[in-house]
Amino acid sequence: MGKTDTLSRRDLLKTGGAVAAGVAAAGLVPSVTEAAAKDARYAMVIDLRRCIGCRGCTVACKSEYGVALGRWSAVIKNVEFGKFPDTQKHFLPRLCNHCAGDAGKDGPPCVEKCPENSRGKRMKLGKTRYRTGATYKRPDGMILMDMQYCIGCYKCIEACPYGARSIDPFVKLDRSDKENDLGVGKCTFCQHRVDKGIAPSCVNTCQGGARIFGDLSDPGSEVSKLVKEFNLEKNRNKATLLPDEKTMPHVFYIDPSRILARYKIDKKTKEKEFSDHFE
């Protein structure tokens, strides 16, 4: 998108006054040239050099969603090694990886295993049609949930190799055919903010600027530039968590100190591991 476009749009905003949701009326939406028309693909790059372990993200996430005690959608893990005085301590922020899923699959394991993954509404994003479900993948890559359709089978929790999902004690399921009483929670990339033009809550607060969020389909975006500069997509075996699971995470790490290689997630304790305790 050219500079002139940006300017005219800014002017439009000024005169229109209304920002965010109000502007969603179709008439105001700029037309994008067909050539550039490609679905957005959201991703996060986490620059481990910049994370200082402050837990701003952990609490921002709790606050944004009113996340219950005992469960988290964003955490920081300490990765420590070495003997005194050469001890090292590093910080590894974690969230849902918003995985694309392996080639040939419709989505990541959580979506695949969700029996209600396409029982929801018919939707269209860009030119792409899709259906929502209890757990579903939006065409822009966000892995989202709609608790209207969740039956509480918790197969998604089991399926996620990262332990990024948990039972939400604040969500009561009301479907008559539900298997359990409570719903499921996890990171949504702050879809409700992003859709209105505001960065995710954890990105907003990150004082080191370690979390960079944006559209991988836009070569001009900060995430695209970083992915290119650090070769994160091609080198995803060293830039994402659990590459062997072939989930194709879309949370990439800039990791010059090779922290990911030292960090293990045990299947048996994956949910417990997805918690945050400051030491």
Binding site: A60, D195, K196
Partner: protein, 850 residues
């Protein structure tokens, strides 16, 4: 940042997807390149998609007091973020700032005036009306005032700044007439400020990370908990990653700051001073002061002669530092001599370098000398008040309404209990307690040598818990006739009170604010109420206004809000921008030219200023001063007594004569130093100390046995000293504080990770858990404070507070059962002999398996 966020308007290609949130289908594109995200300033409900109401305000979690943005949904405060327009925070906020909203909603909050009905500390209370509470307190206070003994009302505060401080101290307490006012700075970093007052006058050093080329850090956990935390911490990590600035951190512990530094230099507690002196030795012996250091020495006093040449100054410092060789310091500190030497060279030869120091350096018996040594090292290399160096801080200056003349106190008196014992040789004596001696207040009250208060009131402070010797504090407090506090938390001290007033939280009140700007520009900002005070809580500032009215000395404003409003409408700059209305809308104001201040010491004082009526010259120190602004009764008396010994002489300071020019140089503040940056302090010499920065070993350390360890304390990134354990998100992250002990030190005592251990000092013993780790120097046990609470509600202590509620659905999700062990029980209240700073980090202990 403000311009960035304006530029970062979203391009509305994605707008259609907003409808998803309200359950409607997408009608438009969400296509590549169509969206640019705005970083913040807005927030939406994840449930309904509707926009949350954004109100600019200011944080009050730690003393940094960042400009902030509160988001309100259906009348309830749900989220705190930074104010993107702040040039200090640049839109960033720490976890503490964000958990702050739980100050409002934690279920054990004090919401009504409470009167004690059981024994002190028994926990039996009854709710009373505000009318009754004010009638009781007002009558007691009025009687003391009417009897001519306002000093018997003692006021002791912890966090009280900017407009809160002005309204309460400069209006209410002034109008009442008590000067028995204690602060808490000496249990924080007051000693560092005294060292500043002795060297370069007014305190606070800003570290110019945006421009620096090298960071040498002694004992500051910048990235977790500095007193100007977010403004400097995000700049420090940015300097490292984006500009490749090297950071070296000396710390006994691998703090997050040490972990993110290029080098962690483990060091034995209390020995930073030796290493810094040895670095001065290296700089002097290698001639590294030549160039900008030498040029700066013109503005430094370094010998007994105030008119000495730069060569004489260098020669004197060289002579003084000759014994402080790297090999000598290495033996004391455990840092290798070659490392001390190479870091000294790196610091001295960097284009600009910032010398950072904080409580790890200052909260020791020798903290004053360590900080003076820092000033010496920075001076010798010209890294003072320069871009990229250790700068004199710039905050915002505010005008405010003063106490009406008709409300002036008929009698003004104070009990001398707030700054230690007057007798030299007394264990609670210090030479220059310019920030009081908080930790000895209760001991002074107990001794009775200076009289005892009838009423002891504390505010935003927890005397039992935050000083050393907790058990003794509790017992002494019980002997004071009347105890009263205004508080949001039922804590270790308020449980002893006779009357507890329900304070409003900082998110329910108004203030103007002024904390230091790392840009050297200054940021004016305000705090405004985001929600109505919960229950019957009320800003203590408003309570003071009512009490003053009731006692017959109205403060001239009807509310704290009016005080803040008037201040905004009368402060130059803010006033022209639109005053209070502008500040309510934007939260922050900056001068249009955004000019940073450096090198102010070079300002020349014009002849017109030195020839003003009352200005005289004291040639024994080279200072022009206006005797009429001091306590001197006549010019003759002023001349006879001289600048140094006339009371309040510093208030009359005009300039320092250097050669044939008079410079502003470094204005004195609380201590009547000359205008020079005084590395040589005639004032210290008078008190029997070495006038130049000198190594002093803590007496306790000299007498250490081979089996003894040193106990140090520390802060963590997610808590505020003593005021956050009731916040569920803070305590969920950190609720236990095992003692960190090096693997070898532990092994020698048969201690394994997780073992219960006893830690015994000369005054008391605690039992806690061992965290055996490679992240700490041998010979030390480090225990954080923050937790180990006896009270503070369920999230902090597991105990429900009297009149606590059960209306937080998260109470049933609380999963932690441990609440830690507070180390202050075993830390004696011991001052730095020069400045009165509590020597937190020096306690010698024995650690054994329990």
């Amino acid at each position: 940042m403000s311009s960035l966020s304006r530029r970062n308007f979203m391009k509305l290609g994605m707008a259609g997807s907003a409808l998803l949130a309200s359950g409607e289908g997408l009608k438009s594109s969400a296509l590549a390149g169509t969206m640019k995200l705005q970083m913040g300033g807005k927030d939406f409900s994840p449930k309904t998609g509707s926009e949350r109401k954004a109100i600019p305000t200011a944080c009050w979690s730690c003393v940094t007091r960042c400009a902030a943005m509160g988001f309100v949904e259906d009348g309830r405060l749900v989220k705190m973020e930074s104010n993107p327009a702040s040039i200090r925070t640049e839109g960033k906020m720490c976890s503490k700032g964000q958990s702050g909203l739980q100050d409002v909603y934690f279920p054990d909050r004090i919401l009504y005036p409470m009167k004690r009905v059981g024994e002190r500390g028994e926990g039996k209370w009854k709710r009373i009306s505000w009318d009754n509470a004010l009638a009781e307190l007002g009558a007691r206070m009025k009687k003391l005032r009417d009897d001519g003994h306002p000093e018997k009302f003692m006021f002791h505060y912890g966090r009280m700044k900017a407009s809160s401080s002005k309204l309460i101290k400069s209006l209410f307490l002034k109008g009442y007439g008590t000067k028995t006012i204690g602060g808490h700075t000496s249990i924080c970093e007051g000693g560092k400020w005294t060292a500043h007052e002795l060297t370069w006058g007014g305190h606070y050093d800003n570290w110019d990370f945006d421009k620096t080329d090298f960071v040498l850090n002694f004992g500051s956990n910048v990235l977790e908990c500095h007193t100007n935390h977010i403004p400097v911490s995000h700049r420090l990590i940015r300097a490292k990653v984006e500009r490749g600035v090297r950071i070296v951190t000396f710390d006994v512990r691998l703090s997050n700051t040490a972990a993110k530094s290029d080098e962690w230099q483990p060091i034995k507690p209390g020995t930073d001073c030796a290493v810094i002196l040895a670095m001065c030795n290296v700089v002097l012996n290698k001639g590294l002061y030549k160039g900008k250091g030498e040029a700066f020495m013109k503005f430094v006093r370094a010998t007994d002669n105030h008119d000495a040449s730069v060569a004489d100054k260098i020669a004197n410092l060289k002579k003084h530092c000759a014994k402080y060789t790297p090999a000598w310091a290495s033996k004391i500190s455990g840092v290798s001599a070659s490392k001390i030497e190479s870091l000294a060279v790196e610091y001295a030869t960097a284009k600009s370098a910032v010398l950072v120091s904080y409580r790890g350096t200052a909260a020791h018996y020798n903290g004053n000398e360590a900080e003076r040594a820092c000033q010496m090292l920075a001076s010798l290399t010209g890294n003072i008040d320069n871009p990229g160096g250790r700068c004199k801080a710039v905050g915002a200056g505010w005008e405010y309404p003063h106490l009406p003349k008709s409300s002036k106190a008929p009698v003004t008196k104070g009990l001398k209990v707030t700054a230690g014992h007057p007798d030299k040789g007394h264990p609670q004596h210090s030479a220059f307690p310019s920030h009081g001696m908080c930790q000895s207040v209760l001991k002074m009250i107990k001794s009775g040598h200076a009289g005892r208060p009838e009423i002891y009131m504390w505010y935003c402070y927890n005397p039992v818990y935050v000083n050393g010797e907790n058990d003794e504090n509790r017992e002494i407090m019980k002997t004071i006739p009347y105890l009263v506090t205004s508080n949001i938390v039922y804590d270790e001290s308020s449980k002893l009170a006779d009357l507890i007033l329900p304070d409003a939280t900082y998110l329910e009140r108004y203030d103007w604010e002024d904390m230091v700007d790392p840009n050297q520009i200054g940021e004016h900002y305000i705090r405004q109420a985001l929600v109505k005070p919960l229950g019957e809580s009320e800003d203590f500032g408003d309570t003071c206004i009512k009490l003053a009215e009731q006692m017959g000395f109205p403060l001239g404003v009807k509310s704290k809000k009016e005080f803040v409003q008037k201040s905004c409408d009368m402060t130059p700059g803010v006033k022209e921008a639109g005053g209070f209305a502008y500040m309510q809308k934007h939260g922050v104001w900056h001068p249009a030219d955004k000019k940073p201040y450096y090198y102010r010491y070079k300002n020349v004082i014009p002849a017109s200023a030195t020839s003003k009526d009352g200005v005289i010259y004291d040639d024994s120190v080279g200072v022009y001063w206006n005797w009429k602004k001091t306590k001197a009764k006549s010019e003759a008396e002023a001349k006879k007594t001289g600048y140094t010994h006339t009371k309040n002489a510093a208030k009359g300071y005009v300039g320092q004569k250097i050669g044939n020019t008079v410079y502003e140089v470094f204005k004195p503040d609380k201590i009547p130093k000359t205008g020079y940056l005084e590395l040589y302090s005639a004032l210290m010499k008078e008190k029997g100390f070495n006038p130049l920065p000198t190594w002093m070993e803590a007496p306790e350390h000299k007498a250490m046995g081979s089996d003894d360890l040193i106990l140090t304390t520390y802060k963590v990134a997610v808590h505020i000293h003593s005021r956050s354990s009731h916040r569920k998100w803070a305590s969920e992250l950190y609720h236990d504080n095992p003692g960190w002990i090096n693997t070898k030190t532990a092994a020698a005592r048969g201690i394994s990770d997780g073992d219960r251990i006893k830690v015994k000092s000369r005054i008391s013993e605690i039992e806690t858990t061992a965290r055996v780790t490679e992240k700490i120097v041998p010979g030390v046990i480090a225990i954080s404070y923050h937790v180990g609470r006896e009270e503070s509600g369920r999230y902090g202590s597991g105990k429900k507070s009297p009149l606590g509620h059960d209306n937080d659905p998260d109470l049933k999700n609380m999963w932690w059962k441990t609440h830690g062990q507070h180390p202050n029980f075993i830390i004696p209240n011991t001052p730095d002999p020069v400045n009165g700073q509590q020597a937190w980090m020096d306690t010698v202990v024995k650690v054994t398996k329990a």
